[in-house]
């Protein structure tokens, strides 16, 4: 398969994924796990796609979660490195190490083409004010299928067509110490996504649960699905206890005389 052929196939795949995800808004099909698998499938190397997709998902897991603004596009950050590995024999770990910078570059390119999206926004207001529902609906679908995904699709195509061969060439030109270094770094990069997640959900009260998960996996070798079940049990018990405390508190405060009275009563009964 030539680079151009692959670029065309992957561009079509990318367009379908974008539209699919926009259509469900469920945030699942543009994730590295899915994109990675599909990229591998399209290029005839499902296994590489799955393995790299899994590692990239771990990296992107936290990165895409920061309040609406994504510093690196997970879709292209998965598509391009995997294509580079399968098509031009780039070292897998080096490609993973380069995934985030690639996604960031694509993100800049997407920002550059985003004025196209805003350009037609005025039409929405015009049709709404005229209560022209047919035209409004048509515009909405034009956005879903063309105006939103097309500029990004062009960016992806150019990146694949011009980038994949070059990524391979860059990789071949790299000295061995650099490749070794990137190998080491790619194993550590995964921690960035987890670090972001941890800093977001960490609290003094709940922090210990991080170590529960760590110990279960590291020392006891429990499989992920088993840990998920334990986590679910912990979550349910926390919810029930917490909710019960709040219900009791609400009952106390809604008792005659209100919260203050209830507290006073309690204080009185102490003596």
């Amino acid at each position: 398969m030539s680079i151009l052929q692959a670029a065309i196939i992957l561009t079509i795949m990318n367009y379908v994924i974008s539209v699919l995800d926009n259509f469900m808004a469920w945030d699942a099909t543009w994730r590295p796990l899915f994109v990675g698998w599909l990229t591998g499938l399209c290029l005839g190397d499902q296994k590489t796609g799955l393995i790299m997709g899994a590692q990239l998902e771990a990296i992107y897991m936290g990165i895409s979660a920061i309040g609406g603004v994504i510093p690196s596009d997970p879709e292209s950050g998965t598509l391009i490195p995997i294509a580079a590995v399968i098509l031009s024999g780039t070292d897998m770990n080096a490609a993973i190490a380069l995934a985030i910078p690639v996604g960031t570059l694509i993100n800049y390119a997407n920002t550059l083409v985003s004025p196209i999206q805003v350009a037609f926004l005025g039409l929405y207001d015009k049709y709404a004010a005229a209560n022209d529902q047919k035209a409004y609906t048509l515009l909405h679908y034009l956005y879903c299928f063309v105006i939103t995904p097309l500029p990004r699709t062009v960016v992806i195509f150019l990146a694949l067509w011009l980038g994949v061969g070059n990524l391979g060439a860059i990789n071949n030109a790299m000295p061995i110490w650099l490749i070794n270094g990137l190998d080491v770094a790619s194993g550590m990069l995964v921690a960035v996504g987890f670090g972001i997640l941890t800093s977001m959900i960490w609290s003094k009260k709940l922090g210990i649960f991080f170590f529960v998960g760590f110990v279960l996996a590291e020392m006891m070798g429990v499989k992920t699905i088993g840990i998920a079940i334990i986590a679910l049990a912990i979550a349910i018990s926390i919810f029930l206890v917490d909710h019960k405390i709040q219900t009791v508190a609400a009952e106390v405060s809604s008792a005659p005389g209100g919260e203050q009275k209830a507290i006073e009563d309690k204080e009185d009964s102490l003596f």
Binding site: F23, M24, W26, L33, W37, I100, I201, V212, A231
Partner: protein
């Protein structure tokens, strides 16, 4: 605003289904200007037609009003959709009692808390669980991991949206506000955080790889492997050091991309020096 326990008419069911499927297109015309507003109005079209009927003036007012800026979590949005459907119906029945402004205010006041809860539960908990299961299978080359990820994450996303949409339409504003005040939401997000933390902890152990080949001469020709010393403290000690180092940098407002470049540099320098 009580609309409890009655059978929904076929039109209502049809409109709820329309909202359910079409609200998925929120990212189709997502822009920084209106965010999800334009799709919101599109979803509400059949509702507007149903409740306002021939009253073109009110219908147009509602149409324009619904294109206003809107942004929340795409699954939790179901609740707002359901509520605003019920409110539009009340406005059609008595335009004096329920003003358009009031509907907008209720929508806007729910946007923030729902986005916060939706983002934290979906991104920090459900996605972490689904991806954790998916990653563990996919990294062995098993495509089932991908299907489980999409099935669990996407499935819960859709189920929650459908439930909240119906809930919002049937229970009314008072109940929702009461629920927000009762603290059930806080309990829920606390539980989700704990679940997320357990998963992240286990994924740090299984996905992060950092080892040190360095050996320290102990005299008399013996050496001690640095890794063994670390693992003597707690297995996977270096993983924890790396993770909490990153957490510290994020707390210090470092941008993720700089942390990544720092790690690339550490990887290259560390392997050159033979300590990583």
């Amino acid at each position: 605003m009580a609309k409890n326990k009655r059978e929904l008419t076929p039109t209502e069911k049809k409109n709820l289904r329309h909202i359910f499927w079409c609200s998925g297109q929120m990212w189709g015309d997502f822009t920084m200007v209106k965010m999800e507003g334009n799709t919101y109005a599109y979803c509400m079209l059949p509702v507007i037609n149903e409740v306002y009927g021939d009253n073109k003036e009110l219908a147009t007012e509602a149409f324009v009003r619904n294109t206003e800026f809107f942004n929340t979590h795409a699954s939790a949005a179901g609740l707002v959709f359901g509520l605003s459907y019920a409110l539009e119906r009340e406005r059609a029945a008595d335009p004096e009692a329920v003003s358009g402004e009031m509907i907008t205010n209720i929508k806007t006041s729910l946007m923030g808390p729902l986005a916060a809860i939706g983002d934290s539960i979906f991104f920090n908990c459900i996605r972490v669980i689904a991806a954790g299961i998916g990653i563990s299978l996919a990294s062995q080359g098993n495509p089932l991991g991908v299907f489980l990820f999409v099935g669990i994450y996407g499935g819960i996303f859709l189920a929650v949206k459908w439930y909240l949409l119906n809930l919002g339409y049937t229970v009314g504003t008072d109940t929702i506000t009461k629920a927000f005040k009762s603290g059930i939401i806080q309990s829920l997000s606390e539980a989700a955080c704990a679940m997320g933390l357990v998963m992240v902890g286990s994924l740090v152990s299984s996905m992060v790889s950092i080892t040190s080949p360095a050996q320290i001469p102990m005299g008399a020709g013996t050496t001690m492997v640095l890794q063994d010393i670390f693992d003597g403290i707690i297995p996977g000690f270096l993983k924890l050091v790396l993770l909490f180092g990153i957490v510290l940098l994020i707390r210090k407002k470092w941008k993720p991309i700089w942390i990544i470049f720092l790690i690339l540099a550490i990887g290259v320098v560390g392997s050159l020096l033979g300590i990583l």
